[in-house]
């Protein structure tokens, strides 16, 4: 049996700005099916975090249940992780974020985990503009339980052992725009040139960032009749823009691109493709998503971004100090303080 991870890496790999090599961002050997799109997303996350010099110990990986939700075991082995209950990752993330606002939160979910059982939690975490990157590894089915249709399956689409789906699909990107997410993107596991900069931008975004990544399930949903297969996605994919992510320190020349500044000084550069909308315009973004749907296209790229909205902590006006760093006295100020609060509420 060869469940191995060789010790060696390319001899020319160099450490990043904080002294870590790419290998330091890897995880355990994947147990997913060979060729699963989810593994490519893990590889994209490794690449993005390595290139951005993310400190692994300052990242919290959160997930629900599903093949997709298993993947946090396969990257960032030195980060915190919480593999929660099916569809309940948002509430665990909310709790963690409230307790420690200093970490970078990375949620990994599936289309079943998000749009079927977890739809309620998904909607509310977006309303709250929790500062996290939320990745949906969207394969249109429940991979882990052998390929039943999920809520993102298109009408007429078929999985390997199933019948054509008859229910209207949920488009996570459309839903996110509607509910008020502040960063909405879509990508494809087979397109790292687009996915990696989107991940970097999403990690920098000061609020809730959603990337809906089409990620084919090779085992149950990669047949010609499926609309979430490698071939279908490639044939129907259109890109809203060419995305590039420029870290704060880097210099770049003006080249006609739209530059979206991040509060930490980084920039998302977008080269608009002809006929596409301005991603800072929510109505235009929503219209573009609908129009692409009508045309049977998979619209990818950065669909919408608003870096100016307050996130959960700002809305709640919580203290700058993470709650977990407060001592007992500060956290439990005693009966007199409680009385004062209660008096205010009467």
């Amino acid at each position: 049996m060869s469940y191995i991870i060789p010790r060696f890496r390319h001899p020319c790999t160099v450490p990043n700005d904080i002294g870590y090599t790419r290998q330091d961002y890897e995880g355990a050997l994947s147990t997913l099916c060979a060729g699963c799109g989810h593994d490519s997303i893990s590889a994209a996350l490794v690449q993005a975090c390595y290139e951005m010099s993310v400190a692994p110990h300052l990242v919290a990986k959160l997930s629900g249940i599903g093949c997709s939700s298993k993947t946090p075991a396969y990257f960032l082995r030195q980060s915190h992780g919480f593999n929660s209950v099916h569809g309940r990752m948002p509430s665990v993330a909310t709790g963690a974020y409230l307790a420690n606002r200093d970490l970078t939160y990375l949620g990994v979910s599936g289309d079943g985990d998000t749009a079927s059982i977890g739809l309620g939690q998904f909607a509310h975490v977006m309303r709250r503009n929790l500062n996290m990157l939320y990745i949906i590894e969207n394969n249109g089915c429940y991979g882990l339980t052998k390929g039943q249709d999920s809520a993102t399956a298109d009408v007429g689409s078929k999985t390997k052992h199933g019948q054509a789906n008859v229910f209207s699909p949920i488009d996570p990107a459309g839903l996110a725009l509607n509910i008020g997410a502040t960063f909405v993107a879509r990508s494809f596991s087979g397109d790292k040139a687009q996915l990696v900069p989107l991940i970097k931008a999403g990690l920098h975004h000061p609020g809730f960032a959603l990337i809906d990544v089409i990620s084919p399930c090779v085992t149950f949903n990669n047949i010609p009749a499926s609309t979430k297969s490698y071939t279908y996605t490639r044939e129907h994919m259109t890109a809203a823009d060419v995305v590039d992510f420029v870290p704060a320190a880097a210099k770049y020349g003006a080249d006609g691109a739209i530059d979206v500044k991040m509060p930490d000084g980084a920039t998302v550069k977008l080269r608009r493709l002809p006929d596409h909308h301005d991603p800072r315009n929510r109505a235009a973004a929503a219209a573009a998503v609908l129009a692409a749907q009508e045309r049977g296209e998979v619209l990818t790229g950065l669909i919408y971004i608003d870096t100016g909205r307050p996130d959960l902590h700002a809305m709640l006006e919580t203290t700058e100090t993470p709650l977990r760093a407060l001592d007992e006295k500060a956290l439990c100020p005693g009966a007199r303080a409680l009385d004062a609060v209660n008096r205010n509420a009467r």
Binding site: S2, H10, A34, C36, G37, A43, P216
Partner: protein, 604 residues
């Protein structure tokens, strides 16, 4: 780039860096796996078929395979697999091999081939022709066969027993060997009824140095290779206490170490050039230094200082190396005071030349530059069609494995020539390519490469070896160390074979590859493509694999340079577009081996 033609046997051959670098193209990883499995007899036979002298070469080979070995490149400070010393292991631990060697037909084919010189080149020709029914008549001016393997390589590096055994396998085939017989006229040879003549007389003339004092001091100044031969044949058994060895090649290393054993106490090696230009193999130098032999660089000998008719010292001028923009070196005086080193004897190991005083120049054998014969580089045929050359006699001094490689080619040519066929119609290499897949995550080879550092071969106690000329310094790996060292081999012959028609471009192989060897990219010219791969790709010596265009129009590019042959790409491929296939390349030889499956394939 154009799609790679993997059907060309040389493509995958080139991936097996060690085998490709070996002049005789020994299937290295195949025998290393057999050693790891404890199957030493089979490992020996794979070697014997390719390089004829595994026991000798396992101790003395110049080992071009090792600098080529991929293992030495996969990480900074990583060292190659000890390919050479593993070869010795199978020679040391083998069982009966004689019964596995080709049978010699009782009925001869009526063709008679003369072999002049009894070194590795001639012996290889005999080994390759005897099984075909040829009558081989060998002439050598030494008392036993082996050429310089016997006369030059000291027994503390190569025990006589090992040499006798492997020379014996060939002479026992019924070679009609005439030792102690100097061939003094090619004309006479040609007048006898030989169908072909092979010249394997080596490069027997050691260079001399014509500086003041040389003539007067003849008694204490020795030509290195003549002196080593005299030691080997028992004519010389001692030397003075203070010995200066001039020269920086392997002959100098053998001279100084031999001098240490014959009574030399202050033995020093003095080189004209800087150390970095020294010709000696690094390991030979290390072994000499370990025997307390100091080395001096940038010293050009100018004069032998005499007193009372004896040499008492050598005077040197100190120099500095200057390189022009083409890298050509000149040694210029450093402007320092001359250095005088006292001594009792001087050994001159400053090079060897070919010498063919016995070949008349009016018999149709043309000679060219440096008095070397004019030869066809592929066929080794001289300008006189029935005369062939090989080994050091062909293109100047090289090494044993090169002599063997020449021998194989010359034997092919002689066989074709005797059959009256066209010499450029040569046999092709034989190749097999067999899947190693046993199960989803299971291969028939060990793909979990050992992370261990290279193991050092243990040496015998120096106090003893310096006293006994015949005591072998290296002890060889024991079975445990041999297995551990063998496990470091990456199995570069187990090829990653890609079938583009099956690929769905899911990226799984590119994602999982620990060495970032695989890239899906838009096609382009080589320079451009190399610049766009997932990892630095600057070893031009290793050809890129480029697939035909895939459905997206992109191509899959694999840089073979640092591939671990771990098989993860094939394990992660959902469509079996990748497979790990064992590639066995058998270099062309005469039909001296009955073509059965190789032992390894039989058992696998």
């Amino acid at each position: 780039m154009e799609p790679t033609v993997t059907e060309d046997p040389e493509y995958f051959h080139k991936v097996v860096n060690c085998q490709y670098a070996c002049p005789a193209h020994t299937p290295v990883p195949a025998y290393i796996r057999l050693i790891a499995a404890g199957r030493h007899t089979e490992a020996y036979m794979i070697n014997w078929e390719a390089n004829v002298f595994p026991g000798v070469l396992g101790r003395t080979c110049d080992r071009p395979c090792e600098p080529a070995c991929r293992r030495g490149r996969i990480e900074k400070d990583e060292e190659p697999v000890a390919v050479c010393r593993l070869k010795r292991v199978c020679a040391d631990l083998k069982g009966d091999v004689k019964s596995l060697m080709p049978e010699i037909p009782k009925k001869k084919n009526g063709r008679r081939v003369a072999l002049i010189g009894g070194g590795p080149a001639s012996l290889t020709v005999a080994r390759d022709l005897m099984p075909l029914g040829y009558t081989c008549i060998l002439f050598d001016n030494q008392k036993r066969g082996g050429g310089m393997m016997r006369s030059q390589i000291p027994s503390f590096r190569l025990p006589e027993k090992v040499l006798d055994e492997e020379v014996g396998y060939i002479t026992d085939m019924g070679v009609d060997a005439h030792f102690n017989q100097d061939v003094t006229s090619m004309k006479e040879m040609l007048a006898r009824d030989f169908d072909a003549v092979f010249v394997g007389t080596g490069a027997p003339r050691g260079r001399d140095l014509d500086i003041p004092g040389r003539q007067e001091a003849d008694k204490q100044i020795h030509i290195g290779i003549d002196w080593l031969a005299s030691v080997a044949f028992g004519h010389i058994a001692s030397i003075g206490k203070r010995v200066i060895v001039l020269g920086g090649g392997n002959t100098a290393m053998d001279c100084c170490r031999t001098a240490r054993r014959l009574g030399g106490e202050d033995v020093r090696v003095v080189v004209r050039s800087p150390f970095k230009d020294m010709k000696a193999s690094p390991w030979e130098r290390e072994d000499a230094e370990a025997e307390d032999i100091p080395m001096f660089e940038n010293h050009v000998p100018k004069e032998f200082k005499m007193k009372d008719g004896k040499v008492v010292a050598v005077m040197f001028e100190k120099v500095r190396a200057v390189y022009d923009d083409k890298g050509k070196r000149t040694l210029v005086p450093a402007g320092e005071a001359p250095v005088v080193m006292e001594c009792d004897d001087v050994l001159m190991a400053i090079g060897q030349d070919n010498a063919f005083p016995w070949i008349e120049r009016d018999i149709g054998i043309d000679f060219g530059k440096w008095d070397l014969p004019v030869l066809d580089k592929k066929t080794f045929q001289s300008t006189l069609p029935k005369v062939f050359f090989g080994g050091d006699a062909a293109f100047g001094p090289a090494n044993i494995i090169t002599a063997v490689a020449h021998g194989h080619q010359a034997a092919i040519s002689i066989d074709i020539f005797c059959r009256g066929k066209n010499l450029s119609d040569r046999p092709h290499p034989a190749v097999t390519l067999v899947s190693q897949k046993m199960n989803v995550h299971e291969w028939s080879y060990s793909n979990d490469v050992s992370g261990a550092d290279r193991f050092a071969v243990p040496h015998a106690d120096r106090k003893k070896t310096l006293k006994d000329m015949k005591m072998e310094v290296e002890l060889g790996f024991d079975v445990k160390a041999a297995c551990a060292e063998a496990s470091r081999c990456l199995n570069c012959d187990v090829q990653t074979v890609f079938e583009s028609g099956r690929c769905i471009e899911c990226d799984a192989c590119a994602d999982v590859c620990p060495m970032s060897a695989i890239t899906f990219a838009e096609n382009g010219a080589e320079d451009d493509l190399r610049g766009r791969l997932n990892a630095v790709s600057d070893n031009r010596g290793q050809t890129l694999f480029v697939s035909p265009a895939l459905p997206t129009g992109r191509v899959l590019v694999k840089d073979e340079d640092v591939c671990l042959h771990c098989g993860l790409c094939a394990e992660r491929c959902p469509t079996e577009a990748w497979d790990m296939k064992k590639f066995l390349y058998t270099a062309p030889k005469t039909a001296c081996f009955k073509k059965t499956e190789t032992p390894e394939n039989e058992a696998a």
